[in-house]
């Protein structure tokens, strides 16, 4: 196996979150107080969530795009974040800009609506307009079409660590010389069925606040002295049970050391997970906990880490998956 590091340079970032549609808001704006929404199974019971304001100008502006007319909020979040990140990209030949998106629950709003409508009204009333929008890569297809990205395009699935997988895909594409720049996007939309699952998992009881949005970056092969360079060559640490998850964290702390060169995201699922792990409270953590949104959370943490790197020596950012793995991104 080739041990040579395959480095990536971060050249652009974009974000859509409950604190607004700019990357600066990620560290400048305090997260809003959660709003309370009813559960699907028990409308008398409410849980706190942070929503993206869908009526803000940056998102409403995309409504005129034909491909987005019927799209779910996820496609809007991802398109806006991607568009912000692309503003930093130098001119690229058609077909040489690639797109890789990492999703957790995908178009869960339309999936829930499609299936529950069919259950309530009967299968012969299933909606042919909704079904195509339920497919995992539909929002990704909308991003590519709206922003005219005709290079390689993958949709990846997973928990927060799918973000790291997406960076690894970018690394492979550069090694194969199929792209000059890669747009990496993570996104999540919030639906009542997801809230139901988080509640059932005990995560809400343990302090989780669900949220939504998207984050995007553009990476390329480093050119000259680059201000922000990363590598993603460390294999992830997998877990299945809660005990495995705690052991995975202990492995990470042992491998990377708990001081100086390790950085944790602001939110970890479940929020009280690290409470009794020795040394965990000594590790540096990013600020501004917006809540839980699978790969969108990873993207926001990554973008905050890009800013953090401007004032700090090299470090390793832990990407904390909620239900499969922990992975590490090295900011070199």
């Amino acid at each position: 196996m080739n041990a040579a590091p395959h480095l990536l340079e971060v050249v652009g970032c974009g974000s859509v979150s409950p604190v607004g549609c700019t990357i600066d808001a990620l560290w400048e704006t305090e997260p809003p107080h959660p709003v309370h929404e009813p559960l699907l199974s028990n409308p008398a019971q409410f849980v706190g969530v942070r929503r993206v304001n869908l009526r803000q100008e940056a998102l409403v502006g995309w409504e005129k795009e034909a491909r987005l007319r019927r799209a779910s909020p996820l496609a809007y979040f991802m398109t806006e974040a991607a568009n912000q990140a692309m503003k930093y990209v130098p001119e690229i030949l058609p077909g040489r800009l690639a797109l890789v998106c990492a999703l957790g629950t995908g178009s869960v709003i339309y999936s829930r609506r499609f299936y529950s409508d069919a259950l309530k009204k009967g299968r012969h009333f299933a909606s042919p307009l909704l079904f195509p929008e339920t497919v995992y890569n539909s929002p990704v297809s909308h991003v590519a079409s709206t922003l005219n990205i005709s290079g390689p395009c993958y949709t990846l699935m997973g928990d927060e660590t799918a973000w790291t997988d997406a960076l690894r895909v970018a690394m492979v594409w550069f090694a194969r010389d199929v792209a000059d720049a890669v747009l990496v996007v993570g996104g999540e939309e919030l639906d009542t069925i997801a809230l139901e699952a988080y509640k059932g998992s005990g995560w809400i009881r343990r302090g989780l606040i669900a949220t939504e949005g998207a984050g995007a970056i553009v990476v390329r092969k480093p050119v000259g002295r680059s201000p922000c360079v990363i590598k993603v060559d460390a294999p992830p640490v997998f877990f299945r049970s809660r005990q495995d998850q705690r052991n995975a964290w202990k492995k990470i702390f042992t491998k990377y050391g708990i001081q100086e060169n390790l950085l944790l995201p602001s939110n970890i699922t479940p929020p009280d997970l690290l409470k009794n792990i020795p040394g965990a409270s000594d590790v540096a953590r990013l600020k501004n906990d917006l809540g839980f949104a699978f790969t969108a959370s990873s993207a926001w943490a990554f973008i905050q880490a890009v800013e953090y790197r401007k004032q700090h020596p090299p470090f390793n950012l832990v990407v904390a998956g909620a239900n499969t793995a922990l992975s590490v991104i090295s900011f070199v």
Binding site: A118, A144, S150, P152, C153, R168, V169, P236
Partner: protein, 395 residues
Amino acid sequence: MNKVVITGMGMVSPLGLDTETSWESLKAGVGVRQPIDLFETEGCRCREGAQVDLPQADRSERRLSRASRLAIMAAKEAMRQACLNDRPFPQNFPLCVSTTGGAMEWGETFLRGALAVKPDCKLAHVARYHPQQQVIDLQHALGVEGPVTMIGNACASGANAIGHGFDLIRSELADCVMVGGYEAMTELIFMGFDCLQALSVDCCRPFDLYRNGLMLGEGAAFLVLESEKHAQTRSANILGRILGYGHAMDLHHLTQPSPHGQALITAMQNALAGAEVEPHQITYINAHGTGTPANDQAEALSYIGVFGESLPEIAVSSTKAAIGHTLGAAGGLETVFTLCAARECMAPPQLHNQSPLPEVAKSLAGINRTLKKGQPVMSVNLGFGGSNAALVLSL
């Protein structure tokens, strides 16, 4: 750059629970279409498809989703064939996996429970409905760990997963990779294709003038890819090679390919260029051929665009007429069939085609259509959202 070889293949299909059983039935022209009994279909236009006849789950499998069971069976066959199942594994064994639905049936159960105001009873199910959970099931069953790439590029996902494994080895980022995909038939997806009127109510007829839709199927297929050097070092039996991989994005429409198949042309041309193979050297194409009006016409035109006058010399068939469209598993299953065809110099016949599209009329494979020995073969896939992928393979 590393050369990429295939040392193990495994599949579970509606035609059989392993590669050889499935291949023998396919060659013989057996088709599988039956009433769906995995879930209720009352109210749907179409009520038939191609299901896998899975044996009763044993004790160790009872907690697994149908999707996991399909994936594990196919992957274990690939590992056995690669003689990797009785060796100590490298700690870093990458998996590139595709699906479109994951364990959707458990998500459906959870939603039904939530609507009926009793969600907690199926919590264990929803926790393991996400696609990444089937991959963890797979890793546990195989006893491996390493980076995972879960690709959800709709119906092209399988070819993308194989292509990504190829890219990993080719660029010397891995020596040995498991690639493939799985798909279990579920109510939501079946209803979805049915409401789009994309399912044929009588028969799936790829590349036929009177084609009227696809047949939904399910299954799984996995391959072990290695660098040639890695395979030679451990004296592994080389079953075939991947020579090239191309993929391209079609921005035309969410659910329909551009009428002339330009993105598929690009994908095929890139795969051929990477393989350093001229179009006329290809002896067989396992076509995507869903049997829907828009797909097959665009695909046929793209073959003319790439292969031109040599197209009549190339055998073409879509195996979806026999096993159905297996979505995230399609790329894996069809790649394995393509390699079997190259091995036996025999194209799987194009079933259910009485009135072929003129563009591919001379290419469509009949029973016992022989292939040129030692010549490269190709497998192509298209998907919702504009994903297009092509693989060039040889023995």
